[in-house]
């Protein structure tokens, strides 16, 4: 049990008469990238919001590192090292990269003044770690000058800084070009190399196939398929499975 960072058991959640999630089991291992796939309305958002503490489930249990938790909240999730990279990236574009990384959690010293040098160096280290090799950008660069993929990188770097052990990426490649998406995949590989885990949410199966170690497919609030990468020979096979599921509603175990 202790091998999982997060484990959800028999989670159900309904909004009025809509069953967003029904009896869902879901887990993320150490240094594992889980691809969470599903159509709009499949329950992906609800699932990750339960993990990040935004929504409380109606029934079911949440285990963090093997321990059952009660009164799960955003603050508790943060303390447990779970960071979410929101779909809108939550950046302030006219500010510098360093200011964005420390937004809301500024590195301060005497009387609340910012330790500018420390912030600069820390931001610099994070940027290099995550693969900003270009000399064009420094922590003083304005975020609006970055490409979409690089902005996503800043959002991910921010999540990494605060000792996240699990990073949830909500549709990180939406609205990105191919090369920019490639950059995001690079960031996700970085997360894994650091020994951290990630949940990669997308409805683009090809994107998920590239980076994930395991795939979980949600359909109408149920987990309909869970497979290790070696069990799925290709992305095309995954697409076929998905189409099967959509047509027949059958479950692949």
């Amino acid at each position: 049990m202790g091998d999982y960072i997060v484990e959800l058991r028999n989670i159900s959640k309904a909004f009025g008469k809509t069953h967003a999630l029904t009896d869902v089991n879901f887990r993320v291992g150490r240094a594992e990238v889980v691809g969470l796939i599903g159509d709009n309305g499949a329950g992906k958002s609800t699932l990750i919001k339960i993990i990040s503490g935004v929504i409380a489930p109606d029934s079911g249990e949440i285990y963090i590192r093997g321990k059952k938790v009660d009164n799960w909240s955003v603050a508790a999730a943060r303390r447990a090292g779970i960071e979410t990279v929101y779909q809108d990236k939550a950046l302030a574009e006219q500010q510098t990269i360093a200011r964005n990384i420390f937004m809301g959690r500024e590195l301060t010293g005497f009387l609340g003044f910012i330790r500018g040098k420390d912030a600069y160096n820390e931001a610099n280290r994070l940027m290099r770690d995550i693969g900003f090799t270009s000399k064009v950008f420094s922590p003083d660069s304005i975020v609006a000058t970055l490409s979409g993929g690089e902005k996503q990188g800043v959002a991910i770097a921010r999540a990494l800084y605060f000792d996240a052990t699990l990073i949830i990426l909500d549709e990180p490649t939406t609205a990105l070009s191919l090369t920019e998406s490639e950059k995001v995949f690079g960031f996700v590989r970085q997360i894994k190399q650091r020994g951290c885990s990630a949940i990669f949410i997308s409805h683009n199966i090809y994107h998920v196939y590239d980076v994930a170690d395991r795939f979980v497919i949600l359909d109408r609030g149920r987990v309909v398929m869970s497979a290790e990468k070696h069990e799925v020979p290709s992305a095309d096979q995954l697409v076929k499975d998905l189409q099967d599921i959509a047509r027949t509603g059958r479950r692949i175990e």
Partner: protein, 319 residues
Amino acid sequence: MLSRFIDRNRRPISAFVVLAVLLIAFTIANPKVFLNPQLYTAVFTSLPLSIILAVPLVFVIAAGEIDLAFPSVVGVAAWACALVIQAGGNHLFAVLAALSVGALAGLLNGLLVTRAKLSSLVSTLGMNFLLRGLINLGSRGEGIPLTAQLNDAPFRFIFAGELGPIPTQMLWAIAFAIVGVLLFNYHKFGAQVCCVGDNQESAREMGINVERVRTLTYVYVGIAAGLVAILSNALNLIFWPNTGDGFLLSTLAAVFVGGTPTWGGVGTVTGAVIGTFTVGFVTTGIIAAGLTGFWTQFFYGLIIILSLLGHRFNQPRYR
């Protein structure tokens, strides 16, 4: 190194260029007046009050809001200060009265914007009328002379005296501006103000208390208005019900001429101080250059438009 300095200080530098060009033009037009140090002493008497008001306005505007009520906040703070002095109260108490009345009025402005969710443009416009109305009602439009109480009091020398050739109110303004620059550029507060004005949803998602940060910017204006109220009473030795009224447009113009844009997220306190000098020299310069006072408003407008065009073409280019 130099290019990095220029990159980080584009706005104040372009504001400074405008001021330098203006001063050179005036000096060429009338070297006698503009090379005479007495002119500068004269300008430095009234300018400090505008500087003190311009500094916190940068924070409000960078946080994505506007404050049009500050002239009347100066008024109520000056009124409270004058009432205490007139009643023979302790002058330290008069100082505290001005600062706390200013801060409270600022807090009220902030809460109307952040908690009652009113448009800052309209609600502070309304508050400007409302507070001024209260002063007029309460004072029946009559001034409060303070000469007898203040003539030999330390209050007057501290706030409107001279230290060598420098008026003390200028020293207050310099100190206030330095604190403003430090807060804006190097403090958590300034960083959060910019994030809030830049993208309030992002700021919220990153755990910044957007409402609190915005409210504090209004309190900051209120404290500045309190200080201006004290300086104004000490300078004039009389309280007039219209105290502060003249600052509205010229101070806002100074902030924008200084390079703080209207859309929030960025701003420059140094630029606002430079902008105050630019606006302050226009009137003096026009008279000294031998033009009639009718040119004043024309030149104000011209300087504002030219400055904005300058800032517009001097922004960092985003790809």
